[in-house]
Symmetry: C2
Subunit: 404 residues, 2 copies
């Protein structure tokens, strides 16, 4: 019996969180201070793909209210080609009307001119407050410096990762190196989870020689079981963007399954770093539903618990309140018999057959930041894990005291 599910999906590979987008061959990166942030911290990043291939896969927010840079970048990556990604923090450029779209377009033109590539090959990402115009004078002054700072070493990649931070307390990187090819990545956020400044942005790079379709498939597979199951507060951003750039510089074409596993491993590491750093959280909660009729139903059940404020507040209070788990499960359409449900928290089956199980006093939630909730539907053989955080005073404070 699985009583303490791993925080990792099965088959996850070991990644290096000390390296990022510059780990793969054929990429340069930079992060500098342009002046978007009042704090004076780094706020402009650039990742350049020097080829020989300029392939791209991309996944964007499904929010129907999408930011101008998302609208621009969707069009730019539709042909599977991209040569660079420019990212700014300190302003989301969302809900900014025609002027906002013009700002994203102009940013791509400026980057394209500086790098000698077409504007249509430049992906644009922004993160920060919604409903404020991006100051283009800051962008125009800042771009030459970030282009000048481009470098191919890990320090350059780390600088880029730092420049996209908003309410993040640490930068997030991950890289997987194998047999001559590499997948690297950086993230800020937390998009689907807790968009304090409204956005999850992820840039991944690889030197594997693959078609843009292969990149897209691997990325979609990875996002489905990592970022899309990382749900800190149920809020979906207007700016979420995940981009995978392929340079082909290694000259190696990996097995597609191996490549997909590598991209998933890097995305999983970045997603876990986002959850661990989510605004105001004091517990990281893995909610695994097993023996569901379908994987979709398993995910629905786990997500409904992940979105219960009452459950999340209980975990903050170190209270293994399984009644709040059952209440959330009962709102779903998944196949189950309410009188057969089991709930196991940190290895203690506190609810058995829909009623009182082992003593809730046996559950220790104070010892570890990590919490495991296992829901057994006894209705099939599919399972899924959704990762979330507890609902804390600090979450309320960070999201009420500052406009973001």
């Amino acid at each position: 019996m699985r009583t303490y599910p791993s925080q990792q999906p099965a088959g996850t590979l070991q990644v290096d969180t000390g390296r990022g987008v510059a780990a793969a061959q054929g990429f340069r990166a930079a992060g500098t201070v342009a002046g978007f942030k009042d704090s004076g911290g780094p706020d402009l990043a650039l990742v350049v793909n020097d080829g020989p291939q300029h392939h791209v896969g991309a996944v964007y927010t499904t929010n129907r209210v999408s930011a101008a840079p998302v609208q621009w970048s969707k069009a730019a990556t539709a042909d599977g080609r991209a040569a660079a990604v420019v990212l700014n923090s300190g302003g989301a450029n969302a809900c900014t009307g025609p002027q906002g779209f013009q700002a994203a377009h102009r940013t791509a033109e400026l980057v394209g001119e500086a790098l000698g590539v077409g504007a249509g090959d430049v992906v644009v990402c922004s993160t920060g407050l919604i409903g404020v115009q991006l100051p283009m004078d800051v962008m125009e002054r800042g771009l030459p410096a970030v282009v000048e700072a481009l470098g191919g070493d890990d320090e350059a990649g780390a600088a880029a990762a730092r420049a996209i931070m908003t309410t993040d307390s640490v930068s997030k990187q991950a890289a997987y190196v194998r047999d001559g090819w590499t997948v690297g990545g950086m993230a800020k956020g937390a998009g689907m989870l807790a968009p304090g400044l409204a956005t999850m942005l992820v840039v991944l790079t690889t030197d594997a020689e693959l078609s843009s379709d292969a990149l897209q498939w691997a990325l979609e597979d990875a996002v489905k079981v990592t970022f899309n199951r990382t749900d800190s507060d149920g809020c979906m951003s207007t700016n979420d963007t995940v981009v995978l750039l392929g340079s082909g510089a290694s000259g190696v074409t990996p097995d597609e399954f191996e490549f997909s596993q590598a991209v998933t491993a890097v995305c999983h590491s970045l997603a876990q770093q986002l959850i661990t750093d989510a605004e105001g959280a004091s517990h990281d909660i893995a909610i695994t539903t097993v023996n569901a009729a379908t994987e979709k139903q398993a995910e629905d059940v786990s997500r409904s618990v992940a979105r219960s404020n009452l459950f999340k507040a209980a975990i903050f209070g170190n209270d293994p309140n399984w009644g709040r788990v059952l209440s959330a499960v009962g709102t779903t359409d998944a196949a189950f018999d309410p009188d057969k449900l089991d709930v196991t928290i940190n290895g203690v089956t506190v609810c058995r057959d829909g009623a009182i199980g082992d003593p809730r006093e046996d559950v220790d939630l104070a010892a570890d930041r990590r919490v495991s909730v296992l829901i057994d539907l006894k209705a099939g053989d599919a399972d899924a894990t959704v990762w979330t955080n507890d609902l804390t005073h600090d979450y309320v404070e960070e999201n009420s005291a500052y406009s973001s």
Copy 2:
């Protein structure tokens, strides 16, 4: 143009919040201390219908994990007949297995014996912690006293309203009196809103002479636009119950529309009292969506905003963060053009045509506990209001510090 929607649905009638279930003829009520609560406060209530009719309409939680008293009462009211409602606080009798159902059944038998009616005509309601067996020795000792205390005056009704309180800070009553017939009611909670102790319980009484079908229809209509649109934290309880008892004692058969309006008015008042008293809230927020293609879409849009933790935390911080409104609207399937959306907060149209509108500084959220959010979809002529609260430190505290 509607810029500051009323907190009341159109056509709401004036109700008296100083009177409750005993306001209608043919009813007696009582509330006493049985001993379910550690606090020693009143925790057992009884409402008796002395006829001549013994009609009932009822609406229960749609949560598939429903408490034993809900399962009992659904069966008991299926025939449209009920003679009494017994309610205890201090224990939800939910997720308690066969022993829990037996406890609900036994409670109905004891009340039936004491009143000289069949157990099948006794509705049972419980509220409190999920996953704990109801102490039947307490119930058996407590019932004679509550039967003994039954009275037909408003003080008896008020005692019943006090005995069903859990985390409520005040008891909730409302009555509408008209041309010889009356609708009275009491509530605790907050069910669909913030089930601190897991439940919204509402008992309504009327002396109007109507069939049980007429009672059921009026109740369903009223619940749809009142309790079901009162959504403090998106969590649905295992115990929610709304019962309307009809005695026919007035001998008056009102027009069905007028009766429906009266039931809606009483439910609306009780729902507003629940929102105002919701756990830890500092703002009461009315979210009205206008010019939607359908009423369902208007409700979906309002509810998606009502469930955004980021938006609710911003309101706690007196921040008119319209970007978080648009982010929530964008997750729905409602018909709208993102570039045409208007958002008005407390009369200031801060977002116009999906972009920056009037200055957010003009919105004053600190002056009044009540907040009005108006979302104009420009896609039709339907509208709906959902009422919610802000997300506050006190909400987290109340739901984390105490097991409930």
